[in-house]
């Protein structure tokens, strides 16, 4: 993306984004476990912004909310009412509200980095950050299951459901166990990560073509209208990415809640 935008010299073909955008070189502390690359730097900056903005909002929070405070409160309310309480009810959901709020706000802000000029790369765009979130959810629903049903009770309920003829268990049990341990966190991770990757690739491709046609193409007569169309397309895609940023945060939060609530015995 940056390369695509920064390239002002004539080129043979549009400077399309590649997956190497997601594998930037280490720029600080090379070779140590604390090495920094571009995406991690974006992630740290996003975290600091998130902490400062929400921290100031919280410390200045008043009984009668101002405009910004009511926006933040709408977000909190949304997570609590439309996600957690809607899925698992108030009595069970109360203890998970901070966790789901953390996931929702962090993922949303990290996703938004993908369309902020200058960053242009979602902070979730390495596989590890979504994976860490997903593993947190995995641990949380296993812990909940062990507390509510006991380890064996949970595995029995999920892998050997009642009312199924026993030969089916041979097929069902491994699949369900795989689902519990592997597929749930993997699908959470892949959904978030792949959305960010594809979003970045789409926007960057559209803008790269816009730049190629407007600036680099030799035939200006055809180049400028086509480039303008590509630019409009890129602009619309950017807006779409903003929507996706929200949608993915919402989906991640609601699926985490659903997985946790599936650890409770049915009432």
């Amino acid at each position: 993306m940056v390369e695509a935008m920064g390239m002002l010299f004539a080129a043979e073909s549009p400077d399309l984004p590649t997956v190497n955008d997601f594998l930037p070189p280490e720029i600080l502390f090379q070779g140590t476990p604390f090495a920094l690359n571009r995406i991690i730097l974006i992630r740290i900056v996003a975290t600091i912004i998130l902490l400062i903005v929400l921290g100031i909002t919280a410390s200045r929070a008043k009984l009668i909310p101002g405009r910004w405070q009511s926006i933040v409160e709408t977000g909190i309310d949304f997570v609590r009412e439309s996600v957690v309480y809607q899925v698992m009810g108030e009595t069970r959901g109360k203890r998970y509200v901070p966790m789901i709020s953390t996931l929702f706000f962090t993922i949303f802000v990290f996703n938004l980095c993908g369309i902020i000029p200058g960053m242009n790369m979602a902070a979730n765009a390495t596989v590890v950050m979504p994976l860490v979130f997903a593993v947190w959810v995995l641990i949380q629903y296993w812990v909940t299951a062990v507390r509510e049903k006991g380890l064996w009770g949970f595995v029995r309920d999920e892998c050997f459901p009642k009312g199924v003829p026993w030969p089916v268990y041979i097929l069902l049990a491994p699949i369900q166990l795989c689902e519990l341990i592997l597929i749930r966190p993997a699908s959470l991770t892949i959904r978030l990560f792949a959305n960010m990757v594809s979003g970045h690739l789409l926007v960057a491709t559209a803008l790269a073509f816009a730049q190629y046609w407007v600036i680099d193409a030799t035939n200006k007569l055809a180049g400028i209208p086509i480039g303008a169309l590509w630019f409009v397309f890129g602009f619309v895609l950017t807006l779409f990415e903003a929507f996706v940023a929200f949608l993915q945060a919402y989906v991640f939060a609601i699926l985490s809640t659903v997985y946790i609530s599936m650890s409770y015995p049915e009432d």
Binding site: V19, Q86, S187, I190, A194, L247, I254, L255
Partner: protein
């Protein structure tokens, strides 16, 4: 082009693969949203619940399409 080669594909096969992989999720999304709309029209009072369930289904369908995308990236 050789005489023995009847058809030749150039470029990345994984792109075609991804194109095929979107078909299933595309149909799924269509059915999902259509049914959600229908149920909301029938019972507007539970639209919140329907919407929530719809988004869960959307997430499950979406991951299929994204698996195609990921497979295209990984197995090149």
């Amino acid at each position: 082009m050789d005489i023995i080669t009847l058809a030749q594909v150039s470029g990345s096969l994984s792109v075609i693969g991804y194109g095929i992989a979107t078909l299933g999720p595309g149909l799924g999304l269509g059915i999902l949203f259509g049914k959600a709309m229908e149920s909301t029209a029938r019972q507007p009072e539970v639209s919140g619940k329907i919407q929530m369930i719809m988004f869960i289904g959307l997430a499950l369908v979406e991951v299929l399409g994204l698996l195609g995308f990921v497979a295209a990236l990984v197995v090149a």
